[in-house]
């Protein structure tokens, strides 16, 4: 995913979580600011970092994510939107 694609995905996610804020491409990654003012940065991990695919950074902390699904979950917490609804996918009985 290119930085502009990542920016668009994360901007959509912020809107879905009803979190105000701006997302912008910053170098090889994306920068955004949490509602509490915390600066966040998301970058793609190097192939040599696998299974890590994404890094979420904020001052004094760098968290790894192994998938875009994990990235969204981490970012959701980081911007104070709380955890996803307890409406995890449930497969109907066969």
């Amino acid at each position: 995913m290119t930085p502009p694609e990542l920016r668009d995905l994360l901007a959509d996610a912020l809107a879905l979580w009803e979190v105000p804020g701006r997302v912008a491409v910053a170098g090889e990654g994306v920068a955004l600011r949490a509602p509490d003012g915390t600066a966040l940065r998301v970058t793609a991990a190097e192939a040599t970092d696998r299974p890590i695919r994404w890094w979420v950074e904020k001052p004094g902390q760098r968290r790894p994510c192994t998938s875009v699904v994990g990235l969204l979950r981490t970012l959701r917490n980081a911007v104070g939107a709380g955890e996803g609804e307890a409406r995890r996918l449930r497969v109907a009985a066969p």
């Binding site: 995913m1 694609e5 668009d8 995905l9 959509d12 996610a13 809107a15 879905l16 979580w17 695919r53 998938s67 875009v68 699904v69 969204l72 979950r73 959701r76 996803g84 609804e85 307890a86 409406r87 995890r88 996918l89 449930r90 497969v91 109907a92 009985a93 066969p94």
Partner: protein, 317 residues
């Protein structure tokens, strides 16, 4: 598999009138009817089971999570009676909900109970909207909105009393871009239209219709989708969109078996078991998924799927 259709609509919308009309049609008289409320107009039909409400509070504690746990028991009791010859061999089940019911818990119960899902198939959700008072009900009662949002078919009742229904129809299309809408006086609407199978093509054609709050969003893929990517995508949608994800249907070519399409069908966070079709219905073998959501960015589902697909492809390379 016995088809089950849910007939819902706000108080006074004319559900019982419609069902009486349906049951009066000889071709549809062999239907079992389950009503949620006692004391309504008795249906003159040989099969009538009554289902008392059992309310169960779950974690969120909201009315949307009320579970009608006796519904599944009623369905299975009826089936046992059918097998034992105690009731005629009905061909389908019609469930009339309470006028104040959010149909989602009922649909979830039908889809997730193992015994019911093994013997019954959810066929359609029919919502009745009073042409005279419907706009007011939709404005004041979230239950009425949910009934419209989750419908496969919407019947405008009492159009003869209301006159011009253009504004109401526009309102309903805003709430549910995929549902077909039809007016009916005194329940006069062909049962085949109400309870027909094959709502999927109509649903898939609903792409790109939207209003301010509710949108139908279409995703198309030329290349087959890995099953893992599809699963992760739906999981992430359910987690982040929550109750905003109203319906999702699709014909999907899975990478593991692209020669046969699977039908994907979800109501909010509950996904129906995948239904494999024998063959593609046309020469068009693209995957097409349509979801109806409230407040979901139009591009978010496709962007998310693309990102997940890329990761799954990389992991399996």
């Amino acid at each position: 598999m016995i088809p089950v259709s849910v007939v819902t609509g706000f108080l006074g919308a004319g559900k019982t009138t419609l069902l009486r009309r349906v049951l009066g049609d000889p071709a549809w008289a062999n239907s079992a009817v389950i009503v949620n409320e006692f004391g309504e107009v008795p249906l003159d039909h040989e099969l009538l089971a009554a289902s008392e409400e059992v309310l169960v509070n779950v974690s969120t504690g909201c009315l949307c999570c009320v579970v009608r746990s006796d519904l599944t028991a009623t369905l299975m009791d009826l089936l046992r009676q059918r097998a034992a010859g105690l009731v005629p061999p009905y061909a389908r089940v019609l469930i009339e909900t309470s006028g104040l019911a959010d149909p989602a818990p009922i649909l979830h119960a039908l889809m997730t109970d193992a015994a019911v899902a093994a013997t019954h198939r959810l066929q359609s959700v029919v919502t009745l909207v009073d042409a005279l008072h419907g706009a007011g009900s939709l404005a004041r009662h979230p239950e009425a909105q949910r009934q419209a949002m989750l419908a496969d078919r919407i019947v405008l009742t009492k159009p003869d009393l209301a006159g011009d229904t253009t504004a109401l129809e526009a309102l309903l299309r805003g709430l549910n871009p995929a549902a077909a809408i039809r007016p009916a006086v005194q329940g006069a609407v062909p049962p085949e239209w109400l309870f027909a199978t094959g709502t999927l093509p109509e649903f898939l054609d609903a792409g790109a219709r939207h209003s301010d709050g509710v949108a139908s969003i279409t995703i198309e893929r030329e290349a087959p989708i890995p099953a893992l990517a599809l699963t992760l995508w739906m999981q992430a949608l359910a987690e982040h969109a929550g109750a905003r994800l109203l319906r999702l249907k699709g014909l999907v070519a899975l990478a593991e078996a692209p020669e046969r399409p699977v039908v994907v069908h979800a109501i909010q966070h509950v996904v129906h078991a995948l239904d494999w079709l024998a063959d593609w219905p046309s020469a068009d073998r693209r995957s097409r998924i349509v979801l109806i959501g409230q407040g979901i960015s139009r591009h978010f589902p496709a962007r998310l799927l693309a990102a997940i697909e890329a990761e799954v492809a990389e992991a399996s390379a």
